[in-house]
Symmetry: C2
Subunit: 350 residues, 2 copies
């Protein structure tokens, strides 16, 4: 698999007339080599993982066919290799290299043209192969099952933080490597913060609770949100919840290859606007998911990323009302030849 | 408190003849403002947190005295503010700004001199004030207490991953915001990887288990390592364990203001060399800890960082033998006027 991926990168390097490429994004290094530790990847006529002694055993296990080197720093190891190559043009990942590292690289490679490259490897990663899709599906299945157990466990009086950790624990016991991000459990007014961190506030009966969670399985992430209540919904809560659910279903229904991300966003956004909540939906409707929990394509209101079969994206409209709380509902979807396929299947029961 | 910190940064900006500074490191933004969300900080005659609607409620709560803005992106918001300022020289954090963001900034600020700055704010952060020291101490106390409970719970047959999560759970129940990094539980041969990720391997009787864990309390991290056994040590295990413990005690004893990081490293390294394990100690003896679990000063073999009272550092020699396993013992220490003070107090019982 990694051979195909390497080949795609080398084709692109040839198109760009690059003699070598420094890969500094950690998920990109993993995608191309399987190595999950800290380090850099040099692609020239061969390939070299530049790491340190904390990770050399691991690199040997995870990327058995690829040479591994160490140096005073990862960057010095990479610079040494690149200098020896006598290259004319060396590409680097502009979104994933700091100005400081760039200065160090430039100093070590005097006379070499350093070519700023965009996120080509991340763009390759946006289209998942069958193996990747099945890993995301496994992650989603673990997360779904954990949620069902957690929902039975949840009761008023536990803190958001305890509740978040219990959901994480259930995922790990269920086979997850870890949570794909810090689980969000946001009760009552905390639900008005889309990225609330679970705190010492207790779950209160009849309050909305936003739950946003995901699992990692062999490096691949899932991402899902439900908004639940322990007790009963009042009229306003139900009205908002149902508006968000309608917007989400409209977004899911809209998914198909060829659409731009912003077009999916617009469908959900328009529905919330009609229901009177256009102003309260302050983020994009979704994003790609894979080795990272936020990746391409973007499904924000200005995203021109075109959907393609093999994309894995979230559809997650929300309504956030300061002082009152929030509702967000998120599904993880695979884009297929003719629409979308649900990867998360956690129940929507209230 | 944040006023004093801001004043220190503004003094430095004046020395460097900077009209404004773009702060892009998230812990640096937090250190100066209290804001814990995603965003950038512009310091000019005033201060502006540039974020997005996911975080505006939170920014208002966490950084009440500081202006908060949004834009098409955090960087566009910051660029807009800086452009209006009509500044001659604008500093940026070269270790914390990507080449891509720099290019965007340069495009938006034509005619402005962009000045690459080092990690001045991180250097300020290396010396903790009393409040910070007490937060680190709280984090360490929570982690210690969790470890004692965990040690009683641990038994052969649980997987590394379950064991790591249980230790995290105990920290959270004990009052931690979260673990300060992914807890490491590495049994048997896995102990040979200093940054092993806990996997599906079970804890086996009479095998060494490296446990590296820490808590976060109000943003501040602790960091501690013990190597334990469920059962009995054999002669080789005991010999390695004791060599590491001696090296650690020597490093702890050596701590005092004025020393360079590498000098502390050398003390522990020399002791392991005498015991015949010089080659098996493949990382630096320690690092600073604070809002991040790895910060300044460095205590690696080439670190010229000078220790100062108020530093919080780890002392953590280790011996790693491929195929056999490893031993690491780590204490978190505050550097005082005349030496060091232990912050972690987890027992060393085997």
């Amino acid at each position: 698999m990694s051979d195909q991926r390497m080949a795609a990168v080398r084709d692109w390097m040839a198109d760009e007339d690059l003699d070598a490429l420094l890969v500094s994004s950690r998920p990109n290094v993993r995608y191309l080599t399987g190595f999950t530790g800290e380090g850099l990847l040099v692609l020239d006529e061969g390939a070299l993982i530049c790491t340190d002694r904390r990770y050399t055993v691991q690199a040997g296990e995870e990327a058995p066919g690829i040479e591994c080197g160490t140096g005073k720093s990862h960057l010095e190891c990479a610079t040494g290799r690149l200098r020896k190559g006598g290259h004319a043009r060396v590409g680097f990942e502009a979104p994933h290299l700091t100005c400081e590292s760039h200065a160090t690289l430039a100093e070590g490679l005097e006379g070499v043209e350093l070519v700023p490259c965009g996120d080509q490897i991340k763009r390759l990663r946006a289209v998942k192969d069958e193996e990747e899709l099945s890993l995301v599906q496994r992650a989603a299945g673990i997360a779904d099952a954990a949620f069902v157990q957690w929902r039975e466990w949840l009761e008023p009086g536990v803190t958001e933080r305890e509740a978040a950790l219990e959901l994480e624990r259930l995922m790990v016991v269920g086979g997850a490597e870890r949570a794909s991000f810090e689980v969000i459990v946001a009760g009552g007014p905390n639900g008005a913060k889309p990225h609330a961190r679970p705190g010492s506030r207790e779950i209160v009966r009849d309050e909305l609770v936003v739950v946003d969670w995901g699992a990692v399985f062999e490096g691949y992430c899932s991402d899902c949100t439900r908004t639940v209540v322990v007790g009963e919904l009042d009229e306003k809560q139900r009205e908002v919840w149902e508006a968000v659910r309608e917007a989400q279903l409209a977004g899911i229904e809209a998914l198909r290859p060829g659409l731009e991300g912003r077009e999916v966003d617009a469908v959900a956004r328009e529905l919330l606007r009609e229901r009177g909540y256009g102003e309260e939906f302050g983020h994009g409707v979704g994003h790609g998911v894979g080795l990272e929990v936020h990746e391409l394509p973007g499904l924000g209101s200005s995203s021109e990323d075109e959907l393609r079969p093999g994309n894995v994206v979230t559809v997650e409209p929300g309504v956030y009302i300061e002082g009152w709380g929030g509702v967000r509902l998120e599904e993880l979807m695979a884009v297929t030849e003719d629409g979308g396929r649900r990867l998360t299947r956690a129940p929507y029961d209230l």
